[in-house]
């Protein structure tokens, strides 16, 4: 029999939670985290991304402020900043006299090599007034409401129609491939006795070799052999190498006629939830510099979310589109966001793809053949490369655009 006192505790818990929702009680930590998990629980976005985001944001505000106090050329917003994007170095802004251009130098004072990557202008909603700010330092410590950067405006950045990776001119250099499970953890075990850990490793190795041939990326595996590696260690490994893209390979398990193919990505269920959360929970607040960092992190999270979703979409559509030609039972389960530790803990765009399924003996037999596994690796490669070509500064088209932009600006 359930004790009355326990029941009262439950009712009390509901009451407390509703007080909090109504804004009449203190935030319950657990609940608060649940609501804002997408913003607060994850580790910080890569320093480089955050630096880039904050610098671009600050530069946009600063440039606008300069523009409002000195007569700027009409096209000034097209050349806000040149940005160094090499992974680890921090950067600072150097004001170039009265010119409406700021360029980044690395922390040791060396002028960065021109990466050929330029930011575009910030959305107008972010280019709001900055009154009584004499220099960047003042700007940095100014209260947020003074510079009128509403927390909700980061959403405007996300919705500006320009993918954030393109907006910030980010590139992909290091790809980490994570063969799921391993060692003591076999993952799913098929009816014919094959292990998910083995199939995932074989596909991961093939994918690594295929991507390495492009000559543009450093491709790493979280494990090279049948060894036990915790999820945390995989995350730490990837972050330690400043991963730009993370792909975890798994095999589904579910008794069925179909072979389920699905891809999961990091992120909240949709952007609007985050936006509304920001609006509602911050509407009456007075933000100071500390909160400014949170906004920057939100931009970083939005970036990771956007990119992970696009990567997932590209991989899933390529994988399923081609798999269904060689396996009539392939079933498209689409892309989904999910709270997998290995996705949440990463600083970079990340996906977990269930490339096939131990769903019936026929599919298991196919997975046992090297050719079938190689096919899967090829489809994954096509999905990844297709994403890279469309979405990052390593894509040929984007580079071409940037070169044109650079020439126009000189």
């Amino acid at each position: 029999m359930f004790k009355r006192s326990k029941k009262r505790d439950i009712l009390d818990g509901i009451y407390q939670e509703n007080l909090w929702v109504a804004g009449k009680g203190e935030a319950r930590k657990k609940v608060d985290q649940a609501s804002t998990g997408a913003l607060e629980k994850r580790t910080l976005h890569p320093l480089s991304l955050l630096s880039a985001a904050s610098i671009i944001l600050l530069t946009g505000i600063f440039t606008y402020w300069l523009g409002s106090t000195s007569k700027a050329p009409a096209n000034s917003s097209t050349n806000v900043a040149k940005q160094q994007t090499s992974g680890t170095s921090s950067a600072k802004l150097v004001q170039a006299g009265s010119k409406l251009e700021a360029e980044l130098v690395s922390i040791d004072g060396q002028k960065s090599a021109d990466s050929g990557i330029y930011s575009t202008s910030l959305p107008k909603t972010l280019q709001k007034k900055s009154h009584e700010v004499d220099n960047l330092e003042d700007l940095a410590i100014a209260k947020l409401e003074d510079i009128d950067v509403d927390p909700a405006n980061y959403q405007a950045l996300a919705e500006s129609g320009v993918p954030l990776a393109q907006l910030f001119g980010l590139s992909v250099r290091t790809i980490v491939i994570d063969p799921g499970h391993g060692g003591k953890d076999p993952g799913a075990v098929g009816k014919l006795g094959i292990y998910e850990k083995d199939i995932a490793l074989e596909i991961a190795k093939s994918l690594r070799d295929r991507l390495a041939k492009h000559g543009k990326y450093e491709v790493l595996l979280t494990r090279e052999s049948d060894e036990t590696i915790s999820l945390n260690d995989r995350v730490e490994f990837a972050n330690a190498y400043n991963v730009d893209l993370f792909i975890s390979i798994h095999i589904n398990y579910f008794p069925s006629r179909q072979s389920f193919i699905e891809t999961f990505y990091f992120g909240p269920t949709n952007d609007s939830k985050v936006a509304d959360l920001a609006k509602l929970e911050n509407a009456d607040s007075h933000y100071e510099y500390g909160e400014f960092k949170d906004i920057i992190q939100k931009i970083g999270d939005t970036l990771k979310f956007q990119e992970s979703r696009q990567l997932a979409h590209s991989v899933q559509s390529n994988l399923y589109g081609r798999m269904k030609k060689i396996n009539k039972h392939a079933s498209d389960h689409g892309i989904k966001s999910a709270p997998f530790v290995v996705l949440l803990g990463l600083d970079a765009p990340s996906i977990l793809t269930e490339v096939s399924c131990f769903c019936n003996p026929a599919e298991e037999k196919r997975l046992k053949t090297a050719k079938y596994r190689e096919n899967i690796a090829t489809y994954l490669e096509q999905g990844i490369v297709s994403y890279l070509n469309k979405n990052t500064s390593l894509g040929g088209k984007r580079n071409g655009e940037k070169e044109k932009l650079a020439k126009a600006q000189q």
Partner: protein
């Protein structure tokens, strides 16, 4: 029912539990009445429509049946009010007023309501629900739907409730205390996802046939199954204006099964997080609620999949459509009076 006006004195009290669902919304009241309605709200498009229909606003099936004359809104998406669309918030308000009318609530009564929301709803979503409901009630609380279902069935310890709705499937593991966010999950593998899959599969198989999502939803509600089914599932769909028989047996099975991997995986993960000493007990106490639990073979199929890792028992609540609303009512009735008073809306 008209919106509440500022009035300090009420003739009597009524407690209600409301389950605002993407597909259908249910209400249970302390006077013993309960009802449900498809979550559609429609306003006549113009003066002529209003004259023909004879009502300023229509709900549920009636709204759906007259959709050509209406501005039709399905205001809930994934179990929460669609973001930033005032018409949807207005529609939820109308829907709540209609639900209260259905159970005979009077404007003169003091109404205390508990409303079920998806397990992982954000505070923003809860506030949106509160805004929509508060004009009709005196005091209001929101709780997670699977928790409400668990509470209503007395499943407060060593149990998992899976509420398979239209917009979301919600999980709640009960361990004798107020569930935290770690104990609850919301995924979007649910009824609407099945509809989309079935629609897509039917389009692939019968590209010349003419059908819409509403027809597909009706096919699902009439014929859904997972596992094996006896005989064929045949439906009538127009092709070039003529009604033709279509065999959708395989498509129906595949579409319904498409939500299972995510449901099974999340159930396994919740079990794995439970105290290992009690995992065996929890495995024997998995309960399905919500409209999705009515898919033929669902409980058996999930039980079979989970049994790969050890014995388990999956059952369905007696009255899946009302499980959350009944549970919300039970909470409303058990909640101490002083708690309600603290949450009385500010005049």
């Amino acid at each position: 029912m008209a919106k509440k006006k500022s009035s300090p004195k009420r003739s009597s009290k009524m407690r209600v539990g409301i389950d605002l669902g993407t597909s259908r919304s249910a209400v249970s009241a302390s006077n013993g009445a309960r009802d449900y309605v498809a979550s559609y709200v429609g306003w006549p498009k113009d003066f002529i429509s209003e004259k023909v229909l004879g009502k300023p606003v229509l709900f549920g099936k009636e709204a759906l049946d007259n959709r050509l004359s209406l501005e039709l809104v399905r205001p809930l998406e994934h179990g929460v009010i669609k973001e930033g669309i005032s018409r949807d918030e207005e529609a939820v308000q109308e829907l709540v007023g209609h639900l209260l009318e259905l159970v005979g609530a009077l404007e003169s009564q003091e109404i205390y309501a508990v409303v079920g929301v998806p397990a992982e709803s954000l505070r923003a979503n809860k506030l949106a629900i509160k805004r929509a409901v508060q004009d009709y009630v005196d005091s209001l609380m929101v709780v997670s739907e699977p928790f409400a279902a668990a509470y209503g069935r007395g499943l407060l310890n060593n149990a998992i409730v899976i509420d398979i709705g239209a917009g979301t499937s919600d999980f709640c593991i009960m361990h004798g205390a107020m569930p935290t966010e770690d104990d609850q999950r919301t995924i979007q593998s649910a009824g609407d996802y099945i509809d989309q899959q079935l629609f897509s599969m039917m389009k692939d198989k019968y590209p010349e046939s003419d059908f819409n999502m509403n027809m597909v939803r009706n096919f699902k509600e009439a014929h859904s199954y997972v596992g094996n089914v006896k005989g064929k599932i045949e439906v009538e769909v127009p092709v070039a204006g003529r009604m033709m028989i279509h065999d959708i047996t395989e498509e129906m099975g595949r579409a319904c099964e498409s939500v299972l991997p995510a449901i099974v995986e999340n159930t396994m993960e919740l079990i794995a997080k439970f105290d290992p000493e009690y995992q065996e007990i929890v495995r024997e106490n998995i309960v399905l609620a919500g409209g999705g639990s009515q898919i033929r073979g669902m409980a058996k199929y999930i039980e079979s999949a989970l049994s790969e890792d050890g014995a388990c028992k999956v059952s369905i609540v007696d009255d899946p459509v009302y499980a959350s609303a009944d549970g919300a009512l039970a909470l409303a009735q058990d909640m101490p009076e002083e708690y309600w008073e603290d949450l009385l809306k500010e005049e």
